[in-house]
């Protein structure tokens, strides 16, 4: 493969409250990947992203992010977490939140620079929420908040975008919009998207992996029915309802 490898996980084991959530994960992410990771709730999807970001230390295995440790390499990553827990009354407007993505570039003891403000303006424009920049973040709709958080990840000028359940708080009609937006972004960066909603994301992503403590992935959009069954621990007819046929390998 000629494409550059941006993340490499080798034999990663991670625990959450001393329970194993990731077991022997091997995964390579390349610079032009648009990868969807599906799997049941509690299957370790968020933990996997946090291992890549250096927020969770694996008990075993090696993580390489842009050829470096996660702590050093993560400056190239834009991260959009499941933000459902933030305080709706928090005193910050959309602009304040989005420009936070520039913190690592500006450094302490000074104000945001002209470049920081321009990058913020561009990201707000790209996410089509420039009109809302002076609104309090908690007063936006779920979909607009989502766009603000993606804008915040984009102003870091990332080469890899990690999205954790990005459509959880977005109404279904707006989800199509959202995926079209990601379709544009994938020209500029690698994207990893995790979701428990197989049927929607399988339409848009280029590659699919399935995670339930163990990872099933073939660097393609195909998964064997047995693998899905193993991951979800139920017959594939129940989970693959509505999954386009090209996702499931013929067997």
């Amino acid at each position: 493969m000629s494409s550059r490898e941006v993340v490499r996980l080798e034999d990663i084991w991670a625990h959450y409250d001393s329970l194993p959530v990731l077991e022997g994960i091997n995964l390579s992410i390349y610079q032009d990947d648009f990868l969807g990771i599906i799997g049941p709730n509690g299957g370790g999807k968020t933990t996997l992203l946090k291992v890549i970001l250096g927020l969770v230390k694996p008990v075993r295995g090696r993580v390489s992010v842009f050829g470096d440790t996660p702590e050093k390499g993560r400056k190239h990553i834009g991260y959009v977490s499941q933000h459902s827990l933030f305080d709706r009354n928090f005193p910050a407007n959309v602009w304040d939140v989005v420009i936070m993505g520039r913190l690592g570039k500006t450094g302490p003891f000074r104000n945001y620079s002209k470049q920081d403000r321009e990058a913020t303006l561009r990201a707000l424009e790209a996410m089509e929420i420039l009109d809302h920049k002076d609104q309090q973040i908690g007063k936006l709709s779920g979909g607009q908040q989502q766009r603000a958080f993606i804008a915040r990840a984009l102003v870091t000028e990332p080469e890899l975008l990690l999205l954790d359940e990005p459509t959880a708080s977005v109404d279904t009609p707006l989800q199509t919009d959202f995926y079209e937006l990601l379709g544009k972004l994938k020209e500029r960066m690698a994207i990893v998207l995790i979701s428990h909603d197989i049927s929607t994301i399988s339409i848009y992503v280029d590659k699919i992996a399935c995670l339930n403590r163990e990872l099933y992935y073939h660097s393609s959009k195909e998964l064997a029915a047995e693998e899905l069954e193993a991951a979800y621990q139920c017959p594939v007819e129940m989970i693959a309802h509505g999954v386009p046929h090209r996702v499931l390998k013929e067997h």
Binding site: L53, L55, R74, K75, I77, Y79, S81, H83, F86, D87, N89, F90, P91, A92, N93, D96, V97, M100, G101, L103, G104, T106, P108, F109, N111, Y112, Q136, K139, R152, T156
Partner: protein, 274 residues
């Protein structure tokens, strides 16, 4: 009020109240938006250990309180972030331990400390000039640090995880914020006392928050509210001969409840909020 100001102790009291307003106005906003009310209560009560230590060592109790409060704040920060016990459990334990240390030290000190009550419940009318100088220095440090690290503290308060990912030393900033809270507690002890500190750390900021969604404006408003609460409370306590600390808190609390009531009223009458 004006004729009262011809007394030096009233002028000192007013200055102390305004310094308290500035510090609690700024730091109280972080306490409210980062939901650190309980840990701040723990820090302020634990400072009693420092008051006791001060008496025991024969130094000014407030100086003992300064060092002890910083240590208590950092200790609570360490335990809540590193130990595998629930945050509020850890705070509850250290809260009581700090006070217990104070009681033991006071017991070990010969005689009964004459102004112990003023540390517990505050007595803005007997603040000595040396304490005012210390309060002024602490207030200046707080303002400087917050001006220099405003955007970092905002990110820390809003989303620690994201702040970590973009490369902010989140844990060190959190400990710095705890130290600033300790400073604020020490400034406020003289005005309202250990037991009532938490009210001045929360009420002005909580009141200000009802009027703005911009953190800077919230801080300024909160300082104004704090200044109003301390001066009005001071004046009332002077006129009616009431305990100053408790009067300041009651003025604050009543104003906060009134602001709640007014916005409820505005909602009911259908007048939109700006």
């Amino acid at each position: 009020m004006l004729e009262a100001l011809q007394y030096e102790f009233m002028r000192n009291a007013l200055i102390a109240g305004l310094l308290a307003a500035v510090t609690c106005g700024i730091i109280g906003c972080y306490v409210i938006v980062k939901r650190m009310v309980f840990i701040s209560g723990g820090v302020s009560h634990a400072s009693f250990g420092g008051i006791g230590l001060g008496y025991f060592l024969g130094i000014t109790p407030i100086v003992g309180a300064l060092f002890f409060t910083i240590a208590a704040a950092l200790g609570m920060g360490l335990v809540t972030r590193r130990a595998k016990i629930t945050e509020d459990t850890a705070i509850g334990i250290l809260w009581a331990m700090g006070m217990a240390v104070g009681i033991i030290f006071i017991g070990l000190t010969p005689g009964y400390p004459p102004d112990l009550m003023s540390y517990l419940f505050g007595d803005i009318l007997i603040v000595p000039p040396s304490d005012i100088i210390m309060m002024l220095i602490l207030a200046i440090i707080i303002i400087l640090v917050v001006v220099l690290l405003y955007k970092e503290f905002l990110a820390l308060s809003f989303d620690e995880e994201f702040a970590t990912v973009v490369g902010i030393p989140v844990e060190r900033l959190y400990f710095l914020l705890l130290i600033l809270i300790a400073f604020t507690v020490v400034v406020l002890i003289r005005v309202v006392g250990i037991i009532l500190v938490i009210a001045l750390l929360t009420i002005p900021a909580a009141t200000a928050r009802r009027f703005t969604h911009d953190l800077k404006k919230m801080m300024l408003l909160s300082i104004l509210f704090g200044g109003f609460f301390t001066s009005a409370g001071l004046w009332l306590s002077f006129e009616l001969d009431l305990a100053s600390g408790a009067t300041i808190i009651l003025v604050s609390g009543v104003t906060f409840l009134a602001s709640l009531f007014l916005s409820r009223l505005r909602l009911m009458t259908g007048v939109g909020r700006g």
